[in-house]
Symmetry: C2
Subunit: 463 residues, 2 copies
């Protein structure tokens, strides 16, 4: 008999009522009385378990009642509706075959475990309710991102992770080498001889695909990256990981407002797609992780995001009378406390803050007419603060060149980036969205370590 997935039993129940079916999966709970046994079985295809009822007519009844949690079974039986029970249906088993044993020291027993403990058994935690929900939502959200961009004709750009330039300027980089660290080849002057390394030069792990993505936007018009990026920053917080996934769209013939339109549409699309395609998981998060989740997400999905300039934001904050740890003055980088005040207390919805002071933003952002600010915009959302940063890019060769020089960067490192401005420069814009940031927002999980299957953070690269 063909094996049916539990997902199908829940989604298309009517097809299976009173029919004989075969399923397979792992025991989540098992209890028995003298002549009956009940198993909650999960087969991985669906968030919910299915109840199996078996009785002493089965020749292996006794052995079954002694099985450890997480043993795997295949089961033949009949699906029967149970209108008076809390579950909609159950399987009355005719035959249960043990596929694989588990052991009584299986760590995920029914009692609640802390998230910290579950991180130490990352190879098993996907079998818990919480992580089964988190990682399925991660998968669905990732697909929503691809679907969004592909439906709009954006080209998925696989930009390189190993980079020969250290000019991305977005943070500390990991070095990549094939040299023997116990015996590094040296030049006569005692410095590392990179000509002996795999690539014949110093290489690092990328902190952003943006500069490469720009080359492709100036060919395909609209492109996006979606892949791993890295930061070797020693920041042991709940929001930082050394390896994380970024989405970096880049659009030619697009101004700052066009980026904001696309970013707003994207955020709403991903939220709605996950709500529609993972209703069980989302209900679980709303009940057990964050009781404000649905109202928070509804607010984002249904408001028109606000748009104010940095200068207006500073005015609002200064006039607010609120006391902040970091005093507000034109020119400062907004801190999370400021961002949250603006989006939670003042606007009560997501807002874009635009036109930041040039001095606190990256060299590639387009200088505004005022000579003081750049055409940048950050998206702030209630409960978190910034989740997206983006800008119009400086497309004017001479302005970009001057900016590179002003900041003491090495022009030679940017030869190909500058050439994009020489051969058919166009205005273009783009943004970066940390995938884990939006996952934390959508699931209510408060630590980045809990939205990545095997997180890499300072001092930790287990599994």
């Amino acid at each position: 008999m063909e094996t049916t997935l539990i997902r199908s039993l829940y989604r298309e129940t009517e097809k299976f009522v009173n029919k004989d079916i075969k399923i397979s999966g792992w025991i989540r709970t098992l209890r028995d009385s003298k002549s009956f046994g009940f198993i909650e079985l999960n087969d991985g295809s669906f968030f919910k378990n299915i109840q199996i009822v078996f009785d002493e007519k089965l020749t292996n009844f006794k052995e079954l009642t002694k099985l450890a949690i997480s043993s795997s079974l295949s089961i033949e039986g009949t699906l029967v509706l149970t209108p008076n029970a809390k579950q909609p249906f159950e399987i009355q088993a005719k035959k249960i075959t043990l596929e694989g044993n588990s052991s009584s020291d299986y760590p995920l027993q029914k009692k609640r475990h802390t998230l910290e403990y579950l991180r130490t058994i990352a190879h098993l935690r996907s079998r818990s309710n919480t992580f089964s929900a988190v990682f399925r939502v991660r998968s669905i959200a990732a697909y929503a991102v691809h679907k969004f961009f592909q439906e709009r004709g954006f080209v998925y750009a696989n930009t390189p992770l190993i980079t020969g330039s250290d000019c991305e300027g977005a943070g500390e980089m990991f070095k990549v080498t094939s040299m023997d660290l116990n015996n590094i080849p040296k030049k006569e002057d005692g410095s590392v001889d990179y000509s002996k390394d795999f690539f014949g030069k110093e290489t690092n792990l990328t902190v952003s695909g943006q500069l490469s993505a720009e080359t492709m936007a100036l060919a395909f018009r609209n492109v996006y990256t979606f892949g791993p990026t890295f930061r070797a920053e020693d920041s042991n917080t709940a929001r930082h990981a050394a390896e994380f996934w970024m989405i970096e769209p880049e659009m030619a013939f697009a101004e700052l407002k066009d980026y904001m339109d696309v970013a707003e549409e994207l955020v709403k699309y991903v939220i709605n797609y996950v709500l529609e395609n993972a209703p069980e998981e989302m209900a679980f998060f709303n009940s057990f992780i964050d009781k404000t989740l649905f109202s928070r997400l509804d607010n984002v999905a249904n408001s028109e995001f606000g748009r104010i300039t940095y200068t207006e934001a500073v005015d609002i904050l200064k006039k607010s009378g609120a006391s902040f740890e970091y005093p507000v003055e034109w020119g400062i980088d907004l801190q999370t406390e400021h961002e949250r005040y603006l989006t939670e207390k003042v606007f009560k919805k997501p807002i874009f803050v635009t036109d930041y002071p040039k001095a606190i933003k990256a060299f590639y952002m387009r200088e505004n007419e005022d000579g003081k600010t750049v055409a940048a915009a950050d998206l702030l959302v209630p409960g978190v603060g910034e989740i997206i940063g983006g800008s119009q890019r400086e497309e004017r060769y001479k302005v970009l060149e001057k900016r590179i020089e002003e900041l003491g960067l090495n022009k030679k490192d940017y030869w190909w980036y500058l050439e994009l401005r020489k051969y058919g420069e166009t205005k273009h814009s783009g943004f970066g969205l940390g995938f884990e940031r939006i996952l934390m927002y959508i699931t209510g999980m408060s630590n980045i370590r809990d939205v990545i299957p095997f997180p890499r953070t300072t001092g930790s690269a287990e599994f």
Copy 2:
């Protein structure tokens, strides 16, 4: 006026006939007579250009005729059908605005360039016909992969790239470190003090997500990875890159034949999806890159893949009378010449070769009853040889443990991998598909450097 994409003009022409529209894009070619000019404009949204006709009524007629290739323009005009011309329609321009200048030394002039030369201008090559086609097909094929698995309920598993184990056993690894290579911290015995490194231990770039994916398959049943992997192998061939993308599905409660069913379905799905969604690009490849492309892909999409055992394959090769560089004997690893002979001369369609000798396959492959072979299968396709490798995984704790010991591997490194066999072992299977391999097959491009936007190979990490 709203800007319209050239893709829409081609795909929904009837909506725009004799209408005024606005477009923007880059000049691919420009020619003029005394009072007329013709521009082939490409806006990145579509493989084909659109013809713009302009005349001396435009006040900037003279300047326009002098523009360099790749200058960017926005154009207002009327779309007019041209039933007697080679293109189906053209734009009669009413207003042409220069957005950004190009320069007369723009490297992509109309003449043909070698693929080798184009690699040296990887920041511009996406603007050529060939690479515009390759990288759009890459994007569409990537989406096809996600769509295939998501439609079947597979969970997308983002396995880590930085790995603390060197036990993946699939090839040479790159080291990842935050230490200063000019001044590596040493222990008293003179060896590297990894406790001072970012993760407090030695770390590498992954060569395969499989072992991590298995942990998730034993929770979600069906999962797939799709992300970058790395090999620090000094092999300067047309088929090897140091950084490439792999697709690694892993399925619980699945035997070898189930993996083969899914792999066959996947390959056909991706080919058909690309043929349907990139018809212009595929026609270009079939005309200019490989004239056998369509017949080769049709053959794959429409045959039922053959399945023979390794032992049968060796028999066929030995009896064939063909002379091979590497002599055939039971126990050898099949070489590309053998693989191609089988799939091209004998079967004339894709075939799975199954049940390889244990000694030439990885430790995690499931041992068959005969004690000599393992439940592995490679997919061989005409024109290339192997494009997929996979196996049923050894789910029996004791057999796996013994195999790890036999091969002299360190059991401690595999504690979590072994635990999967302790807590609800199930038969499970999976495979690996090199994304660039299938892209080369689909596009006819013969060098892996030409299907990756910015390739990383021995001695080369440019851009």
